[in-house]
């Protein structure tokens, strides 16, 4: 009976492909939302990752950058720089808020940098200068493409007009892009000209982050110090928590959609083959055996849909950002593992749609000429 169900499925390739494609699209939907979220989460910590600091120092009680505020006196950066084991420090003033570019507000990480801490600036420039001076700003290249704002144009940071002097790469995110201004401009805005928000500490070779953290906490008052790994994880976790509900909702919607599609396909297949089911019943196949055949069809359709969704995800989702640059997509194997784990329950649940038809099929219909 399983062989019959498989051959029946493959005897109508168009129906099979359409069904499997529909299933894969619903799976793809789940993967898409997850990929967007992962992409956005990655972008939210990209600045922290690109700085490659060993230790991040911030105001005591603060352990994040995203949605956080931290203020440290500027002399603390000098003091940390002079500590043994410290090779180099870099410091930034930071503000999380909207920047008006091309008439639209872009929610951004605004990084105020001093000329002596150039390492804290953008890591890749596509056009123009890298380090902004007073009255200048470096914006993401993607925002420039989307808004039409070019080098030399003006943008507004709160009430302060700034001239675009450079376009940075790899700094755009729908949730929070990275915009670079001078420490002086941002300092005036946040009343913190003699302050930093975060100090990045680079250790001498052979010194562990934990030793350095211990040392900093002993020598400098009212600061928190975290290894780069912990700091990034803390921000990523926060981002994931903020989007978890949305992702769960999207996963539920995608799962329901996939279930409906597989159920419809299983039902229509079994409905389409009612006469053959009647023959099977007349020949002595039990309802249970026929239902298992239907379940098997659902499993096969779901499995093909799953494989198709993986192929489509790696092709379409990799290609999509080249067409829509504002979309940050990251496709990772664990997204498919979670889809695969729901695929079997989907197939089982969807096949219930066929149960009623299987039971209802009257073997007497075999006598209808």
């Amino acid at each position: 009976m399983l062989y019959w169900s498989l051959k029946t499925l493959f005897s109508e390739p168009v129906r099979l492909i359409v069904s499997a494609l529909a299933v894969s699209v619903s799976f793809l939907l789940v993967v898409f939302f997850s990929a967007v979220f992962e992409g956005e989460s990655d972008k939210m910590v990209i600045y922290l990752e690109k700085m490659q600091a060993d230790v991040w120092v911030m105001q005591k009680g603060v352990s994040n950058m995203h949605m956080a505020s931290s203020m440290l006196w500027d002399w603390k950066a000098d003091k940390i720089a002079k500590l043994p084991f410290v090779k180099e420090v870099s410091a930034i003033l930071y503000f999380n808020g909207p920047v008006k570019i091309g008439g639209k507000d872009w929610f951004s990480y605004i990084i105020g940098i001093k000329p002596q801490y150039q390492r804290a600036g953008p890591w890749e420039i596509s056009k123009g200068k890298r380090i902004p001076g007073v009255g200048e700003v470096v914006i993401p290249e993607v925002i420039s493409q989307l808004s039409g704002v070019q080098i030399g144009d003006e943008i507004t940071l709160v009430d302060r007009p700034l001239r675009v002097i450079g376009l940075s790469r790899d700094t755009f995110s729908m949730a929070s892009s990275v915009v670079f201004v001078s420490h002086e401009d941002l300092g005036e805005l946040v009343k913190g000209r003699d302050q930093y928000s975060y100090i990045m500490v680079y250790a001498n070779p052979g010194i562990s982050s934990q030793d350095l953290i211990k040392h900093i906490k002993n020598e400098v008052d009212k600061v928190n110090a975290l290894s780069s790994e912990d700091f990034i994880n803390s921000d990523r976790t926060l981002a994931m928590q903020m989007g978890a509900e949305i992702i769960s909702m999207m996963t539920i919607i995608g799962t329901l959609l996939a279930t409906l599609i597989v159920a419809f396909t299983a039902y229509s297949l079994i409905n389409h083959k009612q006469q053959e089911l009647a023959v099977a019943k007349a020949l002595g196949f039990s309802d249970g055996k026929i239902y298992i055949a239907s379940l098997f069809q659902s499993v096969v359709i779901t499995a093909i849909g799953l494989v198709l969704s993986i192929v489509l995800a790696y092709t379409i989702l990799s290609w999509l950002p080249t067409v829509i640059p504002q979309v940050n997509l990251v496709v990772r194997p664990h997204q498919f593992i979670s889809i695969a784990s729901i695929a079997l329950p989907i197939a089982v649940f969807a096949s219930f749609a066929a149960v009623r038809t299987v039971i209802k099929v009257d073997p007497m219909t075999v006598f209808k000429g």
């Binding site: 019959w4 051959k7 029946t8 053959e276 020949l283 002595g284 000429g369």
Partner: protein
């Protein structure tokens, strides 16, 4: 001899509906059918032939009465037991062939074998013999949609025989075949009864089969009756020229206010495609 009786029906009745709309499809039918016997069930349309066949084949429960297959009372069996009985003891041949479209000739014949002891593997030797016997050896990998009507019915017969049943129940097996193919199928079923000691019960309208049958049961208004000779009204099929009993024929048409009777749907189709020709040749 009692020991030879494979099907025994006692006061078998089947009623459909209730009250004034109650229909007595089969009414108090008792019969015995022996192994190796070819029995025809004939009668006018709506006389209850298929209902009787369904009850004998454990597909339909009786309103009252009993059916025993090889001494086993099937009215006491549950659905699972009935399904197992059908799978191993009864083979079915239908008018519309009812082959599984996605499966090849070989796979169609083997399909019920998975329900039998030993499964498909054990049935493979029987398959080869059946394919040879039914003249299907060269068509074993063909799909049903590439077969002729006669070939399809032979595949259906192979499927009915693969589990070596005691009984073959055939419902109008020649109804969709032309007279030549129909004759061929009849002879196969006749040989099965004779050579395999299998009881063949066949519902048919085809009077030509009477010549090869051991017994004819005449069913009228749900009851078995003696058929009188005057019940025959022989006419000629205008297409193939075969003798057809006008009284029992179901394949008929009207053309130029005249009634025409056919031995098969195929002949009717041919008539419809060129009525003038056959009308003239009839005259």
């Amino acid at each position: 001899m009692e020991i030879d009786i494979i099907i025994k029906a006692t006061h078998l009745s089947k009623f459909f509906g209730k009250g004034i709309s109650e229909v007595h499809a089969v009414n108090d039918v008792s019969l015995n059918i022996k192994r190796g016997e070819m029995v025809l069930v004939m009668g006018p349309s709506g006389s209850g032939k298929t209902t009787l066949l369904s009850m004998l084949g454990a597909l339909l429960g009786a309103t009252s009465g009993e059916v025993s297959i090889d001494g086993l009372d099937i009215s006491t069996m549950n659905n699972k037991e009935l399904a197992a009985l059908r799978a191993t003891r009864i083979g079915f041949v239908f008018q519309s062939f009812n082959l599984l479209e996605a499966l090849t000739v070989e796979e169609n014949i083997l399909f019920p074998a998975q329900l039998n002891t030993g499964g498909i593997q054990a049935a493979k030797t029987r398959l080869d013999n059946l394919l040879d016997r039914l003249g299907l050896a060269t068509r074993r990998n063909a799909l049903p949609n590439t077969l002729s009507g006669g070939e399809k019915q032979r595949v259906a017969i192979g499927r009915a025989l693969i589990n070596q049943p005691d009984i073959i129940l055939a419902d109008e097996p020649t109804g969709n075949l032309d007279s030549h193919k129909g004759q061929e199928v009849m002879m196969i079923l006749h040989d099965i009864a004779r050579d395999d000691n299998c009881a063949v019960v066949m519902v048919t309208h085809d009077p030509r089969v009477e010549e090869i049958a051991d017994r004819v049961l005449w069913l009228e208004d749900g009851s078995l009756r003696d058929r009188k000779s005057e019940k025959h009204s022989w006419v000629k099929d205008p297409v193939c020229g075969m003798r057809v009993d006008e009284w029992t024929a179901t394949i008929t048409t009207e053309y130029n206010k005249q009634r025409y009777v056919f031995c098969s749907k195929r002949c009717l189709e041919r008539f419809n495609s060129n009525s003038e020709k056959y009308k003239k040749s009839e005259k």
